[in-house]
């Protein structure tokens, strides 16, 4: 499969990527191999169909939304840099990093991860999870296993619990508060080894 160094030289702006994302060069090489494997037609970009070909993603109830997270609105392709940048959000927090308030928040911070999770629900990106949006996610995860009434009552209950300013929607702050006890770093991270 060639040496790591030769693959590294194929990727433009690697140092920039390393700095920005916190991935090691070795990880970036592995991700590049994976990117190339998914990019079956060798266009240098990935389209939603390329993600769709991943079997395990195809059977994931919210697979479509996850794929959507890689594509900015209006964009139909994603290049390697964007691919890596998005995945960087899911790196576990760097424990050794000093908390420097003057530095910009790292991409894989707790808030960052929560924002991603929030966007999963908030598809129209208006900063709030409306009842309809919540229902949509519930429907994907439960499909034909529960009735529409049951779905609605679950949605009602969830909003009731989380909605503090009673606007019948969940804002990011309310979302964050509702999940403050969840170990986000543990549950929303892909533990890349070494």
């Amino acid at each position: 499969m060639g040496s790591t160094n030769s693959t590294l030289s194929k990727i433009p702006n690697v140092e920039e990527l390393v700095q920005e994302t916190g991935f090691t060069p070795a990880h970036i090489v592995r991700l590049y191999d994976r990117f190339e494997a998914l990019d079956k037609e060798k266009t240098g970009h990935l389209r939603p169909q390329d993600f769709g070909a991943i079997n395990r993603l195809a059977i994931n109830p919210i697979g479509d939304r996850i794929i959507g997270a890689f594509f900015s609105p209006g964009q139909e392709t994603v290049d390697f840099h964007s691919f890596v940048r998005i995945l960087a959000h899911f790196r576990p927090a760097d424990k050794k990093r000093p908390k420097d308030p003057s530095m910009p928040e790292p991409v894989n911070s707790r808030t960052s991860k929560l924002k991603f999770a929030f966007q999963l629900y908030d598809q129209d990106k208006d900063g709030k999870i409306s009842r309809a949006e919540l229902l949509q996610v519930l429907r994907s995860m439960l499909e034909m296993q529960v009735t529409e009434e049951q779905l609605e009552s679950i949605a009602d209950r969830t909003i009731q619990e989380a909605d503090l300013d009673t606007d019948d929607a969940i804002s990011f702050e309310e979302f964050r508060k509702s999940l403050e006890k969840v170990n986000i770093d543990h549950k929303m991270s892909i533990r890349f080894l070494r």
Partner: protein, 385 residues
Amino acid sequence: FLTPLYFMEGGSMEQEMGELRRYRTQSISRGEFSLSDSFYFYIKGLESIVDDQVTQRFSSEELVSWNLLTRTNHNFHYISLRLTIIWGLGVIIRYCVLFPLRITLAIIGLTWLVIGTTLVGFLPNHRLKNWLSELVHLMCYRICARGLSATIQYHNKENKPQKGGICVANHTSPIDIVILANDGCYAMVGQSHGGLMGVIQRSMVRSCPHVWFERSEMRDRNAVTSRLRAHVAAKTNLPILIFPEGTCINNTSVMMFKKGSFEIGGTIYPVAIKYDPRFGDAFWNSAKYNMVNYLLRMMTSWAIVVNVWYLPPMTRREGEDAAQFANRVKSAIAHQGGLLDMAWDGSLKRAKVKEEFKEQQQKMYSSMVMGKKGSTHTKRSHYLY
């Protein structure tokens, strides 16, 4: 050097969701949805984007440290002069010393198999013939095993497959046959080949019954099943050896067993085979290497170290259908060999996935949200991931 790209949580959906919801005061059995439930699916989805576990099953298991075989080192890069020299020495030893010895042994072994079985074939059907046939087979397989420098450890020999039974094992490579046959005699099942393989097959059949199918017969499932049934029914026949996965898996997990083998009836003797990847990678990726290439790689590895566990015999229970029985056996084998029990079909290697799997996940999740107890078949070992 080389590690899996990420560490995968081995927990089932219930376990992972349970942890996600631990901060809530209601108990999990009461159900209820939580905003964090989606995290589970989200991360699983991302993990599959980063590295597809299923495709991983079909390429060789990655080692944590290098064993001086470049074939196991997918990201070969230069570390130091000393390591390269050591590796070079390793190559010389393996190719110039070990390989010729092994080839010689293999040739001796196979020749003896053909000659021996043909000679025994001339004898009239008698207990002596069976005994001699077993002797010849065992001898030959033992020589072949030496030819691969195979070190095999058998566990729980009291559960060894008996005559008239069916032996079922997980499949990693064609060598599995040699491994198992070192300790007992089996009736082989398979397609009749031409060429050298065909010669071997035909001579083996002379000394004791094996079941070789023509390619056309293989397609007719009923014909296959009835022939196997007939073989099993004759209680004096050797136990049949079947690999229900249908294809070679890379020995880190056990894929779905095809239920055909479990419809034959009779007693099933499950066997778990686990290769130690440190000395040689026994996995045969038939898409990548052909048989000759594969044997060459086997003979130039350091050694093949195997553990074989004989599991207690199992029979189909009342009200259990073939598929459920197959799963039960598969779990037992996976559990014993320390292999991951995968719900994936081995045919995934070449085909697309079914909608059923998505529905199954939705079912599992819904039983947690709605608080239903005792959902149908969410066995703990049924890992979907």
